[in-house]
């Protein structure tokens, strides 16, 4: 129930209420909550509230650091404001049409880690590169493989993605060459943002996941496959990834995803104890990927082999500390079907089977200058409603070299 005039099929109803940072006209960066087609200026609406002081930083970090009790309090108050008619007159002036705002990065990213947790993606990557091999790496089912990425080049949705240059050595070449990447790709991923940090030397138990992680977003882990292929042995991806990683503007709080929680797929072998939680954090998110407006893939998130709770436990089991604003991503989300693949590498099978863009007559092996990639997602909410994640959007800009 709300005094707001919400569209019937909105993905941003009162059971969602994701947080972001926006500017609008004279209003500089401020905290907002997406509701229907509007954004509540939370920084303004919360004046006088005890949590108001957490909302003036231009990023959500202070709110995230405040912890689950404050998160629950803020969420309850915002729901109350938007539900009870007695608040309507005070709150209405703080609502802004969502299509008029400019979104910014919701958090100052501390460390960025990227995992590799879709079995189907790992299998596809192995098959595309080695041509036929049907195995994931030997450690893959024992631990959620991950690596650190570049936090400083995590960018807001909508930021142009400039085609990188660098070294690459095609398989048939005897020497490497330098130039623009010709194998530019996207990776559709789900991101998790840490609110409450942890102490160095103190692993975070898997069941503490919801006490540390604030919310969920979408990530496009842009990848230059040619740069990556030449550089990544022996120390992993570096310049093939670090030119840009796009993050969606809205952080959907874990509290909004209770109806999206589903049993975790069976794991064989049984993981070590630190990776076994009392509850499943598999999430039934339905992703969609569009290139230049054409739906090219619909990856399911529920069947990922490793959950975000397992990833967090693994990330800290060596005593590594967490900081507010840490972002970690799932790795490419890929399902078993052809139209559930989360990267062009898989969708075009390494470029060998160019992907048709709808009925346009166009195909893509890899991304071309001007291509726009949009990843969206939604999840089940209460009473048949859906919880929306908005979108992470990026357009390929020509190389500057």
């Amino acid at each position: 129930m709300t005094w707001l005039d919400l569209p019937a099929d909105t993905l941003f109803g009162l059971d969602n209420l994701p947080y972001g940072v926006f500017s609008h006209g004279e209003r500089t960066r401020r905290a907002g909550v997406a509701v229907g087609d509007q954004v509540l200026d939370l920084s303004a609406a919360a004046e006088g509230e005890s949590f108001g002081r957490l909302l003036g930083a231009g990023v959500l970090n202070p709110l995230l650091a405040a912890g689950p009790d404050v998160w629950a309090d803020v969420r309850a108050r915002v729901r109350e404001w938007l539900s009870e008619p007695r608040h309507a007159d005070r709150i209405r002036p703080h609502l802004v049409p969502r299509n008029e705002i400019r979104s910014h990065l919701p958090v100052e990213v501390a460390d960025y880690v990227d995992f590799y947790s879709s079995e189907q993606h790992a299998l596809n990557a192995s098959r595309v590169f080695s041509g036929g091999d049907d195995l994931v790496p030997p450690n893959w089912k024992h631990l959620p493989i991950g690596y650190h990425g570049r936090a400083g080049t995590v960018v807001a949705s909508g930021t142009p993605v400039i085609r990188p240059a660098g070294q690459r050595k095609p398989r048939k070449a005897t020497e490497p060459s330098f130039g623009r990447s010709s194998l530019l790709d996207f990776e559709a991923e789900v991101g998790f943002v840490v609110g409450v940090g942890s102490e160095l030397g103190a692993p975070v138990p898997i069941d503490e996941f919801p006490r540390h992680v604030f919310g969920v977003c979408l990530v496009n882990d842009w990848s230059a496959r040619d740069l990556q292929g030449w550089e990544m042995q022996p120390l992993g991806p570096f310049l093939g990834k670090s030119f840009a990683t796009s993050m969606s503007p809205w952080l959907v709080p874990l509290a909004a995803l209770e109806h999206a929680r589903v049993p975790q797929p069976a794991q064989d072998p049984e993981p070590f104890e630190y990776l076994r939680g009392a509850e499943s954090w598999s999430l039934d998110l339905a992703l969609e990927i569009r290139i230049n407006g054409h739906l090219v893939s619909s990856p399911p998130f529920a069947t990922q082999y490793w959950t975000a709770a397992q990833q967090l436990a693994h990330l800290t089991v060596n005593g590594a500390s967490l900081r507010t604003g840490d972002l970690y991503a799932s790795g490419t989300v890929t399902g078993p079907a052809k139209d559930q693949r989360g990267s062009l590498l898989e969708l075009s099978w390494g470029g060998r089977e160019p992907l048709a863009l709808g009925d346009s007559g166009e195909t893509r092996a890899f991304l071309e200058d001007g291509d726009e990639v949009v990843i969206t997602a939604s999840a089940p909410g209460p009473d048949g409603a859906r919880i929306g994640f908005g979108e992470v959007r990026g357009t390929v800009a020509p190389a500057v070299v």
Copy 2:
């Protein structure tokens, strides 16, 4: 010339003047300059100066962001204060004995990147692991291999290093097991700290190195070889490194290292143009590594294959931006002689030839609880003087698991 009573053989004369952050008694975190056996409280001494406003943050980031002209200005003023007797009465109260201070991280680290730029180390690593192979990876001489590490676990010198736990699979084991790392190691490295950031999409030309990098420090990139060995294929080191990376307290400005610059060793094949600079940034640093007070190695830095200027150009050639506080490290510094190796992995040849700790009768294959590792370095200054880097120190604390 100085009115200070400097020890004759000090490594912290007026040609050094490195910057750090310290606390002392009631004085909370403030900027300092090491001189002789003392520290100048720069935050206090600079009151009234135009750059005074850059020194109150408890980290050096604002000073670093201010750029080379300000760096030169501050350095000139500090030299003047410590040289000219007319300043003595005003400055003397701002000097504190260095053995009374507590040092902190000099900067808030933005992104941390670790390179792999000693050819001898790469060869040794290859030989230890594969047993006899005499080759560096095929890309190694074409690009400075690097990867992102965890910025949030870069710790100040002196911070205890808690032995991590995690998964490992010894070669002869058929299944991985979970437990405390038994192959804990150090890596002696040289670190470079970025002052002036750069824009996304704009590679930093190699000759712009001194306009972006503020100064140099020492880094101990602690490594759990068993965790690292099991996890690092295919995406690189992760938990085997992320439990702690120690950084020395004093940033030696590039301006203090003019006499340490030496010609770069020949590179074959000739690197791509973006890796060819007009001037050499090879630096003649002499490192020393002590375990429990015993000198175990003296790695030379001058012969590293890739320089810090090449590393910076490579790091940004894909358009990745820099931020103030970015830290990147050289990779393990290892020379050709046995007593020039920069890690225990090499010094004990993978544990097969335990290293004698001086005449103590003790040996080490890998680090034991309670072991203290201290890395120091010095470089040529003017007139036969030496420029000291101080030390990065850490003691192994028992695992908590």
